[in-house]
């Protein structure tokens, strides 16, 4: 039996898990997919927004600004990449300039510091590759970039280290009141009993909410497509370049990533299916054309991959973070679209406060654990290390001297570490998210079979059971000769 069951291991579920790990609670995280960060947390812009876009007075505005401030400390504690590279919103027309003043005004109301309107010359001095025809720009130096899946993985690993139990590949099928005090959660792999349930199911959070009878909100998927460029273009811009926001979102951005690539996207298209992460010809073309308005020097070649992610849009537009209307012990954390990644650390704290309130009403609030370890060390990265550190790494473990992914310079040592973390990386994509193996310009063409060899050896499973991303995604479909008929075989 658990005190708290968190449904969903995206950045929100993992942030809440890590926050609750500070207290004397038995916590589990139930995730339908084969790894953490497989929904929206794995496919978004990776921006830690300054907080000027949100309407003042909304929960979004408050948690965005609070979360943004927390990123410096939490990235140090959890050892994930984070850089305050600053955000710039461009104005292409005089009307856009009015929008910038409006955004600045909003930002100040929301508590965003250091906002400044730049002249064309000032903006171009900072970013020489911008469209020279811009009328001006809003500069927000507190804006930052991170790796959304690394944030999620870091939070999950730190939560696990502090006792939170992760159940991957456990899809929640139904939730019942077990007794007055408890819930019974039926998953694809067995039942769980828990006093409290936190619904952080992202794109499916309305469906999970309905399992306890709450029909007060629904979630609409809004797709965004991206193009990722080769690292040779990573310094085309140094800050994150936005266009004036529209009704559908913050618009197409051009940004360096923390790993040194250049990312452009997303568009914003409402879709019907909750699993529609297909890229489209129209979407990709739109993103490219739109990005050209900001940075006219954007190359046509050297795009190494494209992807799409879904925003979980709730009616009303604001985050929904509150106890369920039907059951106080069931906390809804829904509609966490952008700036969800920026707000994630603050959402963790906010949910802990709500839980504490409910528990206090019942008698006893949250009690801190003295042995909570807030620190987590990431996998030692060969590519980021200087030569002395590399020499030490190899001295300790020879496998850090064998490079498996040549594009991203990922060693066997890192891949073996990824397999042994908690929660473990058990799929090819999970290893990719933790080590960057296969994320480079050859997109895994050379290293994938070698990674599969290492998985086969370390996990003790044959290659024909290795998957790309969980159930139904086998990498190979059989052994040589398996498909030959009986006649051919003898």
């Amino acid at each position: 039996m658990f005190d708290v069951a968190i449904i969903g291991a995206g950045v929100i579920g993992c942030s809440i898990a890590r926050e609750l790990a500070r207290y004397k609670l038995d916590v589990c995280v139930l995730e339908a997919k084969a790894d953490v960060a497989m929904g929206s947390s794995g496919a978004n812009s990776g921006i830690v927004h300054a907080g000027y876009d949100c309407k003042p007075g909304t929960l979004m505005a408050r948690l965005n600004v609070e979360g943004n401030i927390m990123y410096d400390d939490i990235s140090r504690e959890l050892d994930f990449p984070f850089k305050r590279n600053g955000s710039m919103v461009l104005a292409f027309t005089e009307e856009d300039m009015q929008t910038l003043y409006h955004l600045m005004d909003q930002g100040i109301k929301n508590g965003v510091t250091q906002l400044k309107i730049l002249t064309t010359q000032e903006a171009l001095r900072m970013e020489p590759n911008l469209n020279p025809d811009i009328k001006g720009a809003l500069w927000a130096p507190t804006g930052g970039i991170t790796s959304p899946f690394e944030v999620t993985i870091a939070m999950a690993e730190n939560a696990a280290e502090n006792g939170v139990q992760f159940y991957l590949d456990h899809a929640v099928l139904s939730i019942q009141r077990y007794s007055d005090e408890k819930f019974r959660i039926t998953t694809s792999k067995g039942d769980f009993i828990s006093r409290y349930v936190i619904n952080a199911a992202g794109i499916n959070s309305d469906l999970i909410g309905q399992m306890v009878g709450e029909h007060s909100f629904s979630i609409h998927p809004r797709k965004g497509e991206y193009c990722l460029y080769d690292k040779k273009w990573g310094d085309l811009v140094t800050s994150t370049i936005f266009q004036p926001p529209s009704r559908l979102g913050k618009g197409v951005l051009v940004t360096p990533t923390v790993d040194g690539n250049l990312l452009v996207g997303p568009d914003a298209v409402d879709v019907d299916q909750r699993d529609d992460v297909n890229t489209t010809d129209d979407g990709l073309r739109f993103v490219y054309q739109k990005a050209l308005e900001s940075v006219p020097y954007l190359p046509r070649t050297d795009i190494i991959t494209q992807f799409a992610g879904l925003r979980a849009i709730a009616d009303g537009g604001d985050f929904i973070i509150r106890p369920s209307n039907t059951a106080e012990e069931f906390i809804q954390v829904a509609g966490i679209c952008s700036p969800g990644l920026s707000a994630a650390p603050a959402i963790g704290k906010y949910v802990a406060d709500i839980l504490n309130g409910i528990m206090q009403k019942k008698g006893r609030g949250l009690e801190s654990r003295r042995d909570f370890n807030p620190n987590r060390r990431g996998i030692s990265r060969f590519s980021d290390a200087d030569w002395n550190t590399r020499a030490e790494l190899i001295k300790k473990d020879q496998r850090f001297g064998r490079i498996i992914c040549r594009c991203e310079m990922v060693t066997e040592g890192e891949i073996v570490q990824a397999l042994r973390r908690n929660p473990p990386a058990l799929t090819v994509d999970a290893i990719k998210r933790r080590t960057r193996a296969g994320m480079g310009r050859c997109q895994g063409g050379f290293c994938t079979p070698r990674i599969m060899e290492i998985m086969e050896r370390e996990l003790g499973i044959p290659m024909d059971r290795i998957t790309k991303k969980g159930e139904g995604s086998k990498m190979v479909l059989g052994k040589i000769k398996d498909f030959l008929g009986e006649d051919a075989r003898c």
């Binding site: 050859c442 991303k469 479909l477």
Partner: protein
């Protein structure tokens, strides 16, 4: 960091690197080291278990591993040192090479001359920007080849191949032999980008259809690929609306081009030719950085490994000249070389610079199929040399030998052109 010196550092122990090292050795250079990132010598040939290698070089038909082994044996005989599992991470213009391996950790080697022989990589789905899902089962042909021939596993059962590059054609046959159903090969161009003999021996002999002017416009499936939408394309290679057709499959292999792998060369400030994707070299295969040479698929994509071996031999000769101070006309300062450009009908030509001191051989590819004509080397209005061809095709690398006498009139800085001229 372990620090070493060597007269010649060869980066890459595949066919180009092995032949280049042997060529240096034949010229009595003894202080050589080959750096190979894999755990064995031979490079990608080790997974090319089909035959057809060596007809030009050895006069007999060998498999890839056999071809490689002949060179490996010679390297062992000559006692040329090599380091396996050794990845070169960095190199600078002073020819200091930084590498790493499990045994020695970081290694720094000061080279007298460097031979780049890192080979090429395959174009990916991402580079083509094929829309759709991102399921398992979408692989480059070379990766599928490794899965089958090295690991012993079947990438899939129902296969569509996009692109008619040689590896894709070879894999069509290989998969068929192992009981997979290769449904079709789609080629966006009106002709094959692979060798004619491979179209015959790998597709026609097995009744595998090839659809020209056809491409994949969508990948279906979220976990494992469930099918592709194919469409015909117009002359500008744009899909024609209304011609879309769904083809179910569990595997999509891509054989859509090879890209010389020159990230390392760029670290040493080696100038690249946008047409080949490889370094700009002279007839000795010396790059724009004096003392750095290149050969094999890192220089331009070859169709036959035999030609790689030939080119590597030239690079070895160039290194010998360089180490003996015979390359006075080369180098960045006071360049005494003439440039060669691809003209009408020609996609690229290697070398791109010549001094004209010796007989040379030009390697080139055409930009389309041309019948009955000549390929000419011209200097302004003057035809310096020409060679008759019954047919040239983009999938086949062609060669053009030119005597030193024909080049006696060229001057430094001249812009020579190689072009196609039709007869009849």
């Amino acid at each position: 960091m372990l620090s070493m010196k060597a007269d010649v550092v060869v980066i890459g122990g595949g066919p180009a690197g092995l032949a280049a090292a042997l060529s240096c050795h034949e010229r009595c250079i003894r202080d050589i080291v080959i750096l190979e990132r894999d755990s064995h010598l031979g490079g990608i040939l080790q997974q090319c278990i089909h035959n057809g290698f060596g007809l030009h070089w050895f006069g007999e038909e060998l498999t890839g591993p056999e071809y490689a082994q002949r060179f490996i044996d010679l390297v062992e005989e000559a006692k040329i040192p090599y380091l396996l599992d050794t990845m070169v991470v960095d190199i600078d213009e002073n020819k200091t090479v930084y590498a790493v391996n499990p045994q020695h950790g970081p290694v720094q080697i000061q080279a007298g001359a460097v031979i780049m022989a890192m080979g090429c990589r395959e174009r990916t789905r991402g580079a083509l920007m094929i829309p759709g899902g991102r399921p398992a089962g979408v692989y480059t042909a070379g990766m599928a080849q490794r899965l089958m021939n090295i690991e012993g596993y079947m990438p899939g059962r129902e296969v569509v191949i996009l692109g008619s590059g040689d590896i894709g054609l070879i894999m069509a046959r290989r998969l068929t032999w192992e009981g997979a159903n290769v449904k079709m090969v789609c080629e966006i161009m009106p002709y094959s980008t692979g060798l004619i003999r491979n179209i015959r021996q790998c597709l026609e002999d097995y009744g595998i259809p090839i659809k020209y002017k056809c491409t994949v416009v969508k990948i279906h499936g979220s976990q494992r690929i469930e099918g592709v939408t194919i469409a015909r394309v117009d002359d500008a290679r744009r899909p024609i609306p209304g011609t879309e057709e769904f083809v179910s499959c569990d595997t999509l292999l891509l054989s859509v081009g090879l890209i010389p792998e020159n990230e390392l060369s760029q670290k040493a400030n080696v100038q690249l030719d946008p047409l080949t994707g490889g370094p700009i070299v002279d007839e000795y295969r010396q790059t724009s950085v004096p003392g750095i040479f290149a050969c094999g698929n890192v220089l331009h994509v070859h169709d036959l490994v035999d030609y790689v071996s030939e080119e590597a031999r030239i690079a070895g000769y160039g290194v010998w000249r360089y180490l003996n101070g015979l390359d006075s006309k080369c180098g960045l300062q006071g360049d005494g070389r003439a440039r060669i450009k691809a003209g009408c009908g020609i996609r690229y030509v290697v070398p791109q610079m010549i001094s004209g001191e010796e007989d040379i051989e030009l390697f080139f590819r055409s930009d389309n199929i041309y019948d009955n004509g000549t390929v000419e080397l011209v200097d302004g209005d003057q035809v310096l040399a020409s060679k008759r061809f019954l047919r040239i095709v983009p999938g086949q690398m062609e060669r053009f030998k030119i005597k030193r006498e024909a080049l006696s009139g060229i001057k430094p800085g001249d812009g020579l052109v190689v072009r196609w001229r039709s007869l009849g």
